[in-house]
C-alpha cells in the first residue's frame, strides 16, 4: 500500500519555531530545523516526551501556528493557515458541549459552506463508519470518554481529509477503551474504509507507537528536533507479546534514554555557575519510592524500563523525568532500556528518613550547580535571605521562562527535603529560617 516512488503527501522542511519571551525578546527555540515527509498510505508516529515540541510541530503542520522558519507543503501546496485536506483529532476530544453529536460532526462541512443536505449525508455516513449510530442527538456530556473520542474521529472524517493529524488521541482514555479505539481505527484503516491517505500521530506511549505506526520519529528536546527514525515492518495485526514487538519496544526505550550530549556553555555566561540544567517537577516521595521499587525484588537494583513502566502503570512522561532526576543526583543510571541503581542508590533504599535527607542535601550540592549557587548566595549575605526573582532571572539566561519557573519549583522542593534552605512562598524568598 505504500508507494515509495510517488511524491510525498506532506513535506516539512527545516521548520523552526521560536516563541517570544514575555519581554518580547527571542526565547529558546521549541523546534529547530525539523524536516520530515509523509507518503501516502503510511501511519507515522511522533514520539517524544512532554516539552519536546511534538504538539507544536503538529500545530505547525495543521496550519494552526505559523513557524518562525521553514516550510510545510501538502501535496506540493504550501500550508499557510488552517488548510483543506487536513483534520485533527484532539487529546481532550474538544467537542462543543452545546452541540449534539450530529451537530458537532457537521461543523466542518457547514463551516466551509457545503450544502445542508450534502453535509447531513456525509455526517450520517461518518457516524455510521465510526460506530456512533443511535447517538446522533446525544450531547457530549452524556457520553463516555470513548464515545466522545469517536465523535472526534467522525468530525475529522467528515471533512474528507487527505492527512489525519492525531494529538495523543488515546491518552485521556482508560486502558481498555483506548485499546478498543486503537484496534477499531486500525481495522478501518486496513480495510481501506477511511478516505484518508496518511495519518500522523503524536504520542508519548511507546507501545502505542509500535502497535500502530509504520514509522516512528523520536523527538528530542532543547531544542525540539528529530533524534531518530525507526521503521516498523512488523505485520498487522500486531501482537504485544510477540518477541519482535518486545524487541522493538526495547529499542525505542534505549533510544529515548540516551544521555543528551552536554550543552555547550553560552558565551558570556561562562563566568557564573552553569545553571543550564532544567529540572522536571518530581516529588521527593516518588524519588524515594522509585529507588525502593528498583532495589526490591524482582529487580534487585536493575530494572527493565518497559517492564517497570508496565508494573508501575507509568507513562514515559512520568517515568523518564523521574529516572533522569535519579541519574542527575547519581542515585541511578540508564543503560539502554534498563535503569540501574548506583551503590549510593542501593544504600539510600535502606536508610531512614533523616539519613535520606542528609544524603539528598549532599547530592544536590554536589551535582546541581543551582543548589550550590543558592546556598552560596545565602551564605554570603549578612541577612541570609535572597529573593527568588534573582535566581529566576539567572535561570532565564539559560532556558525559557516556563522551564526556569519549573526548575525553580523543583529545586525548592528538593532543597526543602534536603534541608538546604527554607522558602517563604508569600515573600518569595529563600532563607535559613524554618520555624523552630
Amino acid at each position: 500500500m505504500l508507494d515509495v516512488t510517488a511524491p510525498p503527501l506532506l513535506e516539512v522542511s527545516q521548520v523552526s519555531q521560536i516563541f517570544a519571551k514575555g519581554s518580547g525578546e527571542k526565547g529558546e527555540p521549541v523546534l529547530q530545523d525539523v524536516s520530515l515527509s509523509l507518503r501516502s498510505g503510511e501511519i507515522v508516529g511522533l514520539l517524544g516526551r512532554s516539552g519536546c515540541g511534538k504538539s507544536t510541530l503538529l500545530r505547525v503542520i495543521s496550519g494552526l501556528a505559523r513557524p518562525t522558519g521553514g516550510k510545510v507543503t501538502l501535496d506540493g501546496k504550501p500550508i499557510d493557515g488552517p488548510a483543506e485536506g487536513v483534520a485533527m483529532v484532539f487529546q481532550s476530544f474538544a467537542l462543543f458541549p452545546w452541540l449534539t453529536v450530529l451537530e458537532n460532526v457537521e461543523i466542518g462541512p457547514r463551516a466551509i459552506g457545503v450544502s445542508e443536505i450534502e453535509t447531513r449525508k456525509r455526517a450520517l455516513k461518518a457516524i455510521d463508519t465510526i460506530g456512533l449510530d443511535g447517538f446522533e442527538s446525544a450531547y457530549p456530556k452524556e457520553l463516555s470518554g470513548g464515545m466522545r473520542q469517536r465523535v472526534g474521529f467522525a468530525r475529522a472524517l467528515v471533512v474528507q481529509p487527505k492527512l489525519l493529524l492525531m494529538d495523543e488521541p488515546f491518552s485521556a482514555l482508560d486502558v481498555l477503551t483506548a485499546e478498543t479505539l486503537r484496534t477499531d481505527l486500525l481495522d478501518l484503516w486496513h480495510e481501506k474504509r477511511l478516505a484518508i491517505q496518511s495519518i500522523l500521530m503524536v504520542t508519548h506511549n511507546i507501545e502505542e507507537a509500535v502497535l500502530m505506526c509504520d514509522r516512528i520519529l523520536v523527538l528530542a528536546s532543547h531544542p525540539g528536533r528529530i533524534a531518530a527514525e525507526i521503521a516498523n515492518p512488523l505485520p498487522h495485526p500486531r501482537d504485544r507479546l510477540d518477541p519482535d514487538f518486545r524487541n522493538l519496544v526495547e529499542k525505542v526505550y534505549a533510544l529515548m534514554t540516551q544521555r543528551p550530549e552536554p550543552k555547550p556553555l553560552q558565551i558570556g555566561a561562562a563566568a557564573g555557575p552553569n545553571l543550564g540544567i532544567a529540572l522536571p517537577r518530581v516529588s521527593t516521595n516518588s524519588i524515594a519510592g522509585m529507588i525502593e521499587e528498583i532495589a526490591a525484588p524482582p529487580y534487585h537494583g536493575a530494572a527493565d524500563l518497559p517492564h517497570l513502566a508496565d508494573s508501575l502503570q507509568m507513562e514515559i512522561d512520568d517515568l523518564f523525568p523521574l529516572g533522569e532526576t535519579l541519574q542527575l543526583l547519581k542515585f541511578a543510571e540508564f543503560a539502554d532500556a534498563d535503569i540501574k541503581l548506583t551503590p549510593l542508590g542501593r544504600r539510600f533504599a535502606d536508610m531512614d528518613v533523616d539519613q535520606r535527607k542528609k544524603v539528598m542535601g549532599d547530592q544536590l550540592l554536589a551535582n546541581l550547580p543551582l543548589a550550590a549557587h543558592i546556598k552560596r548566595v545565602l551564605d554570603e549575605r549578612p541577612s541570609h535571605r535572597a529573593s527568588a526573582t534573582r535566581f529566576r532571572e539567572e535561570l532565564e539566561d539559560f532556558m525559557s521562562e516556563d522551564y526556569a519557573e519549573r526548575t525553580l519549583r523543583a529545586i525548592i522542593t528538593l532543597g526543602r527535603y534536603g534541608e538546604l534552605f527554607a522558602y517563604d512562598e508569600d515573600a518569595q524568598t529563600f532563607s535559613y529560617e524554618d520555624p523552630t
Binding site: 526565547g27 494552526l64 493557515g81 481532550s92 474538544a94 461543523i107
Partner: protein, 576 residues
C-alpha cells in the same frame, strides 16, 4: 436520523394540548400589557401641574409594567453594548488597552452622580415629549446594568478553552461562525448570571431615574419608582408597603418566567467533563418543552438561527502568530496609538478642569475632598459592621444545605430593594429621637448592598469541602481557632466577591442616602453624596462635576489599592 424522526412525529401530534393553552394565554397577556404601556410612552409630556403619578393602588400593575418595560429595554441595550464593546476589546489588542481600563473605571464610579447630565441631554433630544424622559430613565438603568455584563463577556472571550479554539480554527470557521458557534455559547452561563445581578441592581436606578429634579426641570414618569418617590413626599406608609409588595411580585414573576427557564436552558453551555448532579430546573421550561405548538414554532426558529450563525461572514482563520519577529512591525503603530490616547485623555482632563474652574476654586476642592473622606469613612465602617454581623450568620446558614437553599435566593431578592423605601423610617427615627444624622443615616448606605455579602458568603460556606469540615471536627478545632484557621480562609474569596460589589453599591447609595426627604422634612448627613444630591437638586452643574470627579477618583483608588489587592491575595492563598 433522530432529528428527521422528531419532525415526522410532530406531524401526527399537531393538535394543541393543554400546555399549549397555558403558554398561549401567557404570551397574549404579555403582548397586551406591552401594547397598553406603549400608548403611554408615545404620549407628549403632561403639563407640569398635572400629576403623572397618583397614589391610586389600582394603577400599580400598570406602573409595574411600565417600570419592567423600562428595565428590559435597558437590558436589551446592555446586551447590545456587551456584544459589541466586549467583543471589540477581546479581539483587538489596541482597543483593549483603552476599553478595559475605561470599563473598569465606569464600573467603579458612582453612576448615579451622572444622572443629571444624561437627563438634560435626553430631554434636549426630544423636547416636550415623554420619549426623552423615557430614554433618560432607560439610559440610567442601562448604566447600572451594562458594565459587569460586558466584563463577564470579555473575560469569557479571553478564556475560551484552547482546544475548542483550535477546533474552530482548524475546521476553518470564519470569525462570524466562530463567534456564534464557540465564543457566544461559551460566555452564556457567566453572562446570564451577571444579567440577573444587573436586574437586581437596576431597581435602585429605577427609583432614582423615574422621578428626578434637575434644577427647574422635574421629571415624573409613571412607574413603581416614581410611585415610591410620591409616597415619600406624601409620607404615606401604606403606599410604601404596596410598592414593596408590587416590586416583590414583579421580581418573582420575571425570575420564574424568564431567568429560571434561561438558567435551566443555559446548563448545556457549561463546559464541564461530566453532567453535574444538581441541575437547575424550571417549571416554565418544562412546560414549554411539553407543548407541541411552542416546540413546533421553535424548531424552524432555531434552524434559521443556526443557518444565520453559519453564514460565511468575516475572514477565514489565520494561523496564530506569536513568534518574536512579528512584533517589530506593529511597534510604530503602537506608538501612534499611545500618543493619540494620551492627547485625548489630557484634553478630556483639561476640559473638565476648565469647566469646574469657571465657578469654583481650590477651597471647593478642599471642601469636597473632606466630604469624600467622610463618605469613605462611612463606607469603610459600615462595610466592616455589615461583615462582622453577616459573615457569621451567613456561614451558619451556608453550612446547612437546606437553610442555604432557602435563604440564598431570598437574599438575592432583598438586594433588589432600593434604599428609598426606608426614608420614612429613617427620617422619623432621626427626628423623633434627635439622633445625629451623620451616624444614623449611615446605615442606609448598606441597606441594599449588604445582601451581596450575605449570599456570596452563603455560597462560599455551602461550597466548603466536607472533608475539611470533618477533619477540623475530628481534631476538635473549635471556637475562634475554627473561624480563623478553617472557615474564614475557606469563604474568603467568596466573601470578597460580595464585599467588592457591596462596596461599589454603597458609594452609589450614598448619593441617595446622605440626603433624605420624607414629606416636607429633610435630614442631611455630611458627605460627598449629600453634596452631589443637593447640587443636582439645584441644577448646579460645576458642583456636580466636581463632586462626581473627586468621588470617582477616590472610589477608583480605593478599589485598586485595597479591594483588588486583597482579592488577588485571597485568590492566591485561599482558593481551594
Amino acid at each position: 436520523m433522530s432529528r428527521l424522526l422528531a419532525v415526522a412525529a410532530f406531524g401526527r401530534r399537531a393538535l394543541p394540548n393543554h400546555w399549549d393553552i397555558v403558554a398561549l394565554a401567557a404570551v397574549l397577556a404579555v403582548l397586551a400589557a406591552i401594547a397598553r404601556a406603549y400608548h403611554g410612552i408615545a404620549a407628549p409630556l403632561p403639563p407640569p401641574d398635572q400629576a403623572a403619578v397618583t397614589l391610586d393602588y389600582s394603577l400599580l400593575p400598570y406602573y409595574a409594567v411600565r417600570t419592567t418595560l423600562r428595565m428590559f429595554a435597558a437590558l436589551f441595550f446592555s446586551l447590545i453594548f456587551t456584544f459589541t464593546y466586549a467583543t471589540l476589546a477581546a479581539k483587538s489588542r489596541r482597543w483593549e488597552m483603552v476599553l478595559i481600563p475605561l470599563l473598569d473605571v465606569l464600573q467603579s464610579v458612582p453612576i448615579l452622580g451622572f444622572l443629571s447630565f444624561t437627563v438634560t441631554f435626553f430631554l434636549g433630544l426630544f423636547p416636550g415629549h415623554v420619549l426623552g424622559a423615557e430614554c433618560a430613565a432607560v439610559f440610567a438603568i442601562f448604566t447600572s446594568q451594562a458594565w459587569n455584563m460586558a466584563f463577564s463577556f470579555y473575560q469569557s472571550l479571553r478564556t475560551v478553552p484552547k482546544d475548542l479554539d483550535e477546533v474552530a480554527r482548524g475546521y476553518r470557521l470564519t470569525g462570524w461562525q466562530k463567534f456564534w458557534q464557540l465564543e457566544a455559547p461559551y460566555a452564556v452561563p457567566g453572562l446570564i448570571w451577571n444579567t440577573m445581578m444587573s436586574m437586581s441592581g437596576g431597581w435602585f436606578f429605577v427609583v432614582a431615574s423615574e422621578a428626578i429634579t434637575v434644577g427647574d426641570t422635574t421629571i415624573t414618569l409613571p412607574g413603581v419608582g416614581s410611585f415610591i418617590a410620591k409616597a415619600n413626599d406624601a409620607g404615606d406608609w401604606n403606599a410604601i408597603g404596596m410598592a414593596v409588595l408590587t416590586m416583590g411580585v414583579v421580581i418573582l414573576l420575571y425570575d420564574q418566567l424568564l431567568f429560571r427557564p434561561v438558567i435551566a436552558w443555559a446548563n448545556k453551555f457549561k463546559v464541564e467533563l461530566s453532567a453535574s448532579q444538581d441541575v437547575e430546573r424550571s417549571w416554565v421550561l418544562n412546560l414549554l418543552a411539553r407543548t407541541h405548538w411552542v416546540r413546533g414554532a421553535m424548531q424552524p426558529l432555531s434552524a434559521s438561527f443556526r443557518r444565520l450563525s453559519m453564514l460565511r461572514l468575516g475572514l477565514p482563520p489565520a494561523p496564530k502568530v506569536k513568534t518574536f519577529n512579528s512584533r517589530g512591525a506593529s511597534l510604530a503603530l503602537d506608538v501612534v496609538w499611545y500618543a493619540l490616547i494620551a492627547v485625548l485623555s489630557v484634553y478630556a482632563l483639561y476640559s473638565v478642569v476648565a469647566y469646574v474652574a469657571t465657578e469654583l476654586g481650590w477651597a471647593d476642592v478642599g471642601e469636597v475632598s473632606l466630604l469624600t473622606l467622610y463618605t469613605l469613612l462611612r463606607v469603610v465602617v459600615l462595610m466592616a459592621l455589615a461583615s462582622v454581623i453577616w459573615v457569621p450568620i451567613s456561614v451558619w446558614v451556608g453550612l446547612r444545605p437546606r437553610w442555604a437553599e432557602a435563604v440564598q435566593p431570598f437574599a438575592q431578592f432583598l438586594a433588589a430593594f432600593p434604599v428609598n423605601l426606608l426614608f420614612g423610617a429613617a427620617v422619623a427615627l432621626v427626628l423623633t429621637y434627635h439622633l445625629n444624622p451623620d451616624i444614623w443615616l449611615s446605615f442606609l448606605i448598606v441597606f441594599g448592598t449588604q445582601w451581596y455579602i450575605v449570599f456570596n458568603t452563603i455560597g462560599g460556606a455551602a461550597a466548603f469541602p466536607n472533608d475539611l469540615r470533618e477533619a477540623s471536627a475530628n481534631f476538635r478545632v473549635k471556637g475562634w481557632a475554627w473561624w480563623r484557621d478553617v472557615i474564614l480562609p475557606g469563604v474568603a474569596p467568596y466573601y470578597l466577591t460580595g464585599a467588592i460589589t457591596a462596596s461599589g453599591g454603597s458609594w452609589n447609595a450614598s448619593i441617595v442616602a446622605e440626603w433624605v426627604k420624607w414629606k416636607d422634612q429633610t435630614v442631611v448627613a455630611h458627605g460627598v453624596g449629600a453634596y452631589i444630591a443637593q447640587a443636582t437638586d439645584k441644577g448646579d452643574f460645576p458642583r456636580i462635576v466636581l463632586g462626581v470627579a473627586i468621588m470617582s477618583i477616590v472610589v477608583t483608588l480605593f478599589n485598586r489599592l485595597f479591594w483588588r489587592r486583597l482579592y488577588a491575595y485571597a485568590e492566591r492563598r485561599f482558593t481551594l
